[in-house]
Amino acid sequence: MADFFLQALAQVGSPSVLGLIVIGVLFGIIGGSIPGFTVTMAILVVFPFTFAMDPVSGVSLMVGVFVGGYSGGIVSGVMLGIPGTPSSITTVYDGYPMAQKGEPGRALGIGVAASFLGTLISVAVLVFFGPLIASFSMNFRPWEITALIVFALTLVAGLSSGAMLKGLLAAALGLLITTVGYDRNSNLRFDFSVPALGSGFEILPVMIGIFAFSQLMGNLEKLRDEQDKAKGVDTNVAIPYATILRDMASQKLNTVRSSLIGSLVGALPGTGGTVANFISYDQAKKFSRHPERFGKGIPDGIVASEASNSAVAGGAFVPTLALGIPGDLPMAIMMGVLILHGITPGPLMFEQNPILVGAIYASLLIGAVIMVLCQLLLVRWFAKISLIPQEILIPVVLMLCAVGAYALNNNLFDIWVLFIFGVVGYLLWKAEVPLTPLILGVVLGDNLERQLFRALELDSNWMAFLTRPLSALFLALAVASVIFSLYQNHKIQRTHLKARRDDA
């Protein structure tokens, strides 16, 4: 173990490979920072360059993009209030308010630190427990995954910020959106004879549309209201290192818990990052002694979100390396890189190419270190985004969103999706409907439908959901989660009432 790791480290530590990791990380950060350009896009652009490289160089470059990309979502989330990827939605919850309160440097710094620790912890999990987790994840059959998704959907209650009924309606609308297009047996549904609707709505344009539009239009409205006022908040763009260290010191448990959730849930093929991220934010809120402060700009929320979504980087490698099953699109491309070099990912890799496996571990670790260094250098520039006047920023961000939506599938229709859902999102936001549940529905809908039907195809007996231990556990958790959310909501409201009575 240690022997091959050292050999791999020697290979990855060579200047040229280190250079490639730096390029990859920078590329990933930039890709992840642009709303709508995700880690997938960054990987796609870099992918053809790996053709001419030896395996270790190619893989290291890709891993660099990976680590950078998963941490890049912090920037648009904190600075613009627009989640760049589905798994950084909860980063916006506390990151954006903190930046608005005049501390963008602190919010970005906490995010980067949490990302770094999340990546490290997930690599440790991958190295020491990878095969173990992989064999355990084989217990997640259609029944278990269905129950897990049902559990994730119940988190809507906690994420609806008080508007429970509207939140549930939004989640239902999200699920409905995913039924457009060909179903699993090539039957066409709700296409209104528009050929473009055949492939349904891509998650990314829908998400960016809904969040970016409501956010940017909201900013425009504020601009109108504040035209005559001087800038309200004195923005401090410096990075307050001492404060960040103090913040992180108080988040030890939260960091570890969120990273573990990210590594474990991220290791389930096909369920992946977004679910891990929501579960982790929700857990942080439930375990917190002051849940009412979540969503107003506290470090706990940023840490929970960023530690978990970066931990997915290591987690996603578990099924890819141990079983040869890629869990998501970036991983599928990663596998493509390996296959391209004649290496088949899977259990044999550890025997046939231990050096390469070691190189992946080493690049993940080195990538994490480089990510922190790059981010800290870039953060001072990123924080300056808050100084750009809104009337310049908004059109630029919208244009980037449109480019990102198009580049996803080189499909013009996706830009229309972005705009249509942008208008829908803006109207919903005006009606004070929470938008996160809607996206949760969109992200999970497809998979829920597929897994549920497959479970019933394999065994037409509904009782299987309750007789299989893991699936029963998740369904029980789902019920508990709903009850707890109701209780916590009730408690928060009572303290509000009490506070009001005391004031009177």
């Binding site: 060579s14 040229s16 490979v17 250079g19 490639l20 390029i23 796609l44 992918f47 053809p48 360059f49 053709f51 001419a52 490289m53 030896d54 160089s57 470059l61 084989m138 217990n139 059959r141 259609p142 060909y182 699993r184 047996n185 090539s186 039957n187 066409l188 050929p195 055949g198 492939s199 891509e202 093929p269 096909g270 099924p319 079983l323 040869g324 099953i325 890629p326 699109l329 599928a332 491309i333 990663m334 596998m335 493509g336 890189v337 296959i339 391209l340 004649g342 088949t344 990912p345 899977g346 259990p347 044999l348 599938n409 080189n410 499909n411 597929r450 039907f453 497959r454 195809e457 394999l458």
Partner: protein, 326 residues
């Protein structure tokens, strides 16, 4: 200059947006004069994507222009094919696809098939291999029929609905004398999920090929039950063909290049020449054979048309036994 510094230099040069300077012989009729877009209607990183990228990289050098692969996944590979079908027939938009062009029509997803395109050339064929978990009582393809007879309505075959493996099983049932009513076909979205389903033994049989199943055959997780090809393949010398087991079926995924209807013949010839010369590269050949368990099979012009006609009639015959609207 060591190999890794060379790599570094390549990467830096590439990221610096250097254009590829290829040594080429002058092409006729001034075609091609600009980059050629090759639309791949599947996601990046899969076997189809990589095979087309690899061969196109070689073909560029004979064309003197860059071939830019563009992934356009969605709607069961019809998003990309429709895009090419409606593109200008000027030779600068091509489609790199396989049997799914005909399958989409047979499954009723679209109303066009091979005939909506100008076929340029067949490039490779990937041989399909039915497989089971190594703990499964069935050890070869000729035992499947008996196993189904002993457990009617219990045996589960995995497939991607209206994809190559769906058709493979229907043709296999026909060749092996199995009644469609006695088996259960379970749908999966992609090969990766079928691998994990077979590992968990929630299905009995799946169709793989060397790129998707090779590692699992090698470490003994799965057992290849037969090879759907005229002769045994190098990667699995001990596995008999289906014909050796008295099942008359050859089945492969045939990947080729198509152009929009009405593309001038001389452009098609230029492209076919370039791809033909690319496939003569021995390094490329051995990669296609060893890493992708595929065989290089180059057919252009009339020969390719004939091939596609035969391919389509075999698939249409199979489609008659499939109920796509379940």
């Amino acid at each position: 200059m060591t190999r890794s510094t060379l790599t570094m230099a390549t990467a830096v040069a590439a990221i610096g947006l250097a254009s590829s300077i290829a040594c080429s012989q002058p092409a006729q009729a001034d075609y091609p004069e600009q980059d050629i877009r090759l639309i791949i209607p599947f996601g990046p990183g899969g076997a189809t994507d990589i095979i087309f990228r690899l061969i196109s990289q070689q073909a560029e050098q004979h064309l003197g222009q860059t071939i830019v692969p563009v992934n356009m996944a969605g709607a069961g590979a019809t998003l990309g094919s429709r895009n090419v079908k409606e593109a200008r027939p000027d030779g600068y938009t091509l489609l790199g696809s396989h049997d799914s062009i005909a399958l989409s029509q047979l499954a009723g997803m679209v109303d066009y098939s091979y005939d909506a395109f100008e076929p340029v050339a067949l490039l490779t064929q990937t041989i399909n291999i039915p497989a089971a978990h190594s703990d499964h009582p069935v050890q070869s393809a000729d035992e499947i029929a008996d196993y189904v007879r002993e457990n009617p309505g219990q045996v589960r075959f995995s497939m991607i609905p209206s994809s190559t493996d769906h058709f493979f099983w229907v043709q296999f049932f026909d060749a092996a004398g199995i009644d469609m009513a006695d088996v259960r076909l379970v749908g999966y979205p992609d090969t990766g999920e079928q691998v994990s389903a077979l590992m968990a033994q929630e299905i009995d049989f799946a169709m793989f090929n060397l790129p998707s199943g090779g590692a699992f055959f090698e470490n003994g997780t799965f057992r290849p039950l037969g090879v759907a090809h005229e002769e045994r393949i190098d990667g699995l010398p001990d596995v008999p063909t289906l014909r050796e087991q008295d099942i008359e079926l050859d089945h492969s995924t045939s990947r080729g290049i198509f152009a929009p209807k009405g593309t001038p013949q001389e452009y098609l010839d230029t492209l076919a020449d370039a791809y033909g010369q690319a496939l003569e590269n021995e390094a490329l050949q051995s990669r296609i054979e060893n890493e992708f368990g595929s065989v290089v099979r180059f057919l252009a012009g009339e020969e390719y048309l004939e091939f596609l006609d035969e391919n389509e009639s075999a698939l249409s015959a199979a489609a008659e036994n499939i109920d796509f609207q379940n």
